[in-house]
């Protein structure tokens, strides 16, 4: 099985009923959880992923990594031209020994509903080191979530 980079279809619907709030401080808390190595993934993840609970045993595990992942720091949504966008601060898993092939961003304030599945394009390994999630430039062409 595999992970396919995609925004969760459920997330698209939930945006239209105001389920998610990406505002800094007063918004919802979003978390980033890691998928284990590609060869070990047993489920299928992508647009059909609706919740963190879907990850199950396919979540990565390793030294100093806590199941559920880590909380992201929201960046209050803004606009650039005719595009609305939001962003997160880069996230560092510190002093970990772990291999990950992708990640899931989900809303931990609202029943762990999925935002999207992200593929790293291969396995990434940190051994007694730091694994950093680098979010793209927050502009109309690259931001992590954009309403174009």
């Amino acid at each position: 099985m595999a992970i396919t980079q995609a925004m969760s279809t459920s997330f698209k619907q939930e945006l239209l009923v105001a389920t998610h709030n990406f505002t800094l401080t007063t918004g919802d808390a979003f978390k980033l959880a890691l998928f284990r190595a590609t060869a070990s993934i047993s489920g299928t993840f992508g647009a059909g992923t609706t919740n963190y609970s879907n990850m199950g045993a396919d979540e990565a595990s390793g030294t100093n990594y806590t199941a559920g992942g880590s909380t992201l720091t929201n960046v209050t949504p803004t606009t650039s031209g005719t595009t609305a966008l939001t962003d997160f601060a880069d996230l560092v898993f510190t002093n970990v020994t772990i291999t990950a092939s992708g990640c899931l961003i989900y809303n931990s304030t609202d029943s762990n509903r999925s935002v999207g599945v992200f593929d790293f394009g291969g396995d990434k390994t940190a051994t007694a080191g730091d694994m950093t999630m680098i979010f793209p430039t927050a502009d109309a062409s690259n931001a992590i979530i954009r309403l174009v």
Partner: protein, 96 residues
């Protein structure tokens, strides 16, 4: 009749993994600078050049203080280890 291209899009998450160490000053600066100062590709050449020069100055300044912060942290760790009688471990940290 015409249509307008619109929709929900998502960006790429890149990763930076290290083994046996944390992030060094250059790696931290590499993460920080794109967020601190972004020069638009379509900015006028004179503005781009000015912004690039300003960015280089900021980068030098920030690198200096990040390196200093790392050294100060090492000093603190050495102090804690020595107070605990761990002189060999303190010596290792001091050599970092």
């Amino acid at each position: 009749m015409f249509s307008v291209g619109s929709g929900l899009a998502m960006g790429e998450i890149k990763t930076l993994a290290t083994s046996g160490r944390g992030l060094n000053a250059d790696e931290i600066i590499g993460l920080m600078m794109p967020r601190l100062l972004h020069v638009a590709d379509n900015a006028p050449p004179a503005i781009r050049e000015q912004a690039a020069a300003f960015k280089a100055d900021i980068e030098r300044l920030v690198r200096h203080y990040i390196v200093q912060a790392q050294k100060s942290r090492d000093t603190t760790i050495c102090g804690v280890l020595e107070q605990a009688g761990q002189y060999d471990a303190a010596a290792i940290v001091r050599k970092l």
